[in-house]
Amino acid sequence: MSRQARREAVEGYICISPWLVGFVMFVAGPILASLLLSLTYWDIGSAPRWVGLQNYAEIFTNDGDFLQALKVTLTYAVVTLPLHLVLGLALSLLLNLRLRGMNFYRTLFYIPAVLPIVAVTMLWIWIFNPEFGVINHLLSLVGIEGPSWFHSPRWALPGLMLLGLWGVGGGAVIYLAGLQNIPPHLYEAAEIDGANIWRRFWRITLPLLTPTLFFQLVLNLIATFQVFTQSYIATQGGPLQATFFYMLYIYNKAFGTLRMGYGSALAWILTLIILAVTLLVFRSSPHWVYYEAERRKEDA
């Protein structure tokens, strides 16, 4: 290595050193530590006690809260992920039309994504108020007697789902960028060939958008498994554990009852679940995600 190259290498490491320190201290180190912690009993007060796989055994065989938390979180994911995808996509198609005032709409629809989730949750608690809330008023206008939302074991979770859907504009903006990257000549050619708007959507828009959809799906997936603040503030997991999200359970165990080892085991299980589902999505991607570059390679 020449003197100059060595000098550049040293400077390179100096430049990335903040991230390297952060990686060791706040990512790699804690991941390893939480794996070890999950094999101990530790309430912070006394020294950690090695218990092997006991935490995991207890979680899997004798923990109703774990099953409930898993059920709530999975239900939320299964219902909201497709909804976010479809509605976000529909919204982005609208936002992609060449229309006067479109910049205004784009700005507007993204707003919920930048607002503090605490304030947004407060607002929706009030909107969902069973007796004086706006939603039940609007429902009464069409002759439906609204449920008691966050006070009802049956409707609390759907209420939180609706709250989440209010932020659908965040995803739409990302789809929009994908839409705008589709070369216009494809549409022109299809139109001359007589393809109607429906066919153009299925044959051009959707295939060329699949990389963006894929990326959003992975991000949403990870985020969905981590829902915390809304349920912590609006329902505290209730009523009757109807909104007992997995993150809430981790929080309660680790920071409520100070069972750090058990909390770490719960966190690891959730992480493995997320990892497994993400891998599944990745493995499925060759069947539905379209990459222009790969296609060209095949054609050549």
Binding site: V10, L94, L115, V118, M122, A177, Y251, A267, I274
Partner: protein, 296 residues
């Protein structure tokens, strides 16, 4: 040939197509405007409801069916916020944390991204892949050990756990910044070095002034993210006097479970700074989110 009236012309296929397009264009644009306005209402009504409740009298608040327009307009809920809880202190705390985060992120993101984008060193590409991989790590798996680490440092109930990590950069911003730096011509570096700049002068005097667009995104996202964060302050701050605005809002609700006027007025105050920052930067912001969204 008059392309606007194919009927009188008996029209060629081309004029027919253009005419069809024009009519269809009007129908599409009308229905699009209509659905846009309808959708806007879904986004606007809740916001309006917040504003309206914060300005209503108590008597008017508890009416069913609800009334949309405050009558009379009542301002007293806003001063009330500051009597119920030390909200000014919450604002100040949040601003301090935001300030250090913005500073830390801008500094470390620039430095690290520059290293990855412009300098050659062994292991660079592997390290960069690791950096991208950290984007996928769910935060809860590092949450508990990080808490314990900060507890060992004696940093619980200080702002340090909420500010110091910003100085190690965030993978998302570093990635964004690196992509941007890669798009700048290397001739800039070479010319500057020829004129006697050292590596860090190249970064700070030549490249960074050209990096305003991604830096705006770093600043704005950091501001909004830190301002809105709830879990971090919830775990690390346990004294009222240290609370951030997000925690303070929750405190306010705990004390006045049914006082929605004050609660909505306070929510409005909490929302306002992010809204202002968002509107100031929205053009660059939406473009930035989009570009990152695509590259992943």
């Amino acid at each position: 040939m008059n392309v606007d009236s194919p009927v009188t012309q008996g029209g060629g296929w081309l004029s027919q197509l253009r005419w069809n397009r024009r009519v269809r264009g009007r129908v599409v644009s009308f229905s699009a405007h209509f659905s846009m306005i309808l959708l806007s209402l879904i986004f606007l009504i809740p916001m309006f409801w917040m504003l309206s409740t914060s300005l209503k009298s108590r008597a008017q608040t508890w009416l069913f069916p609800p009334e949309w327009i405050p009558n009379p307009v009542v301002w007293e809920h806003f001063p009330r916020i500051f009597e119920v809880a030390p909200v000014l202190l919450f604002f100040q705390n949040t601003m301090i944390i935001v300030f250090w985060n913005v500073l830390g992120q801008v500094f470390s993101t620039s430095l690290v991204a520059f290293g990855f984008a412009r300098l050659r060193f062994p292991g660079r590409d592997v390290l960069f892949i690791m950096l991208i991989a950290t984007l996928m790590i769910p935060y809860q798996v590092t949450l508990i050990p990080t808490f314990i680490l900060f507890k060992l440092f004696g940093w619980i109930n200080t702002f340090l756990p909420l500010t110091v990590p910003a100085f190690t950069g965030s993978a998302f911003f570093i990635f964004l910044m690196r992509q941007y730096l890669m798009s700048l011509p290397f001739d800039l570096d070479d010319a500057a070095r020829m004129d006697g700049c050292n590596t860090f002068q190249v970064l700070f005097f030549i490249l960074l002034p050209l990096c305003i667009p991604p830096l705006v995104i770093v600043v704005v996202f950091t501001f909004i993210g830190v301002w809105n964060d709830f879990l971090g302050p919830l775990i690390y701050l346990n004294e009222n006097t240290k609370y951030t605005i997000a925690l303070g809002l929750n405190l306010l609700r705990g004390r006045n479970r049914t006082d929605y006027n004050v609660l909505m007025a306070a929510s409005l105050l909490a929302v306002l700074p992010t809204l202002i920052v968002y509107f100031l930067a929205q053009n660059k912001l939406i473009g930035g989110i989009a570009s990152v969204g695509l590259k992943g």
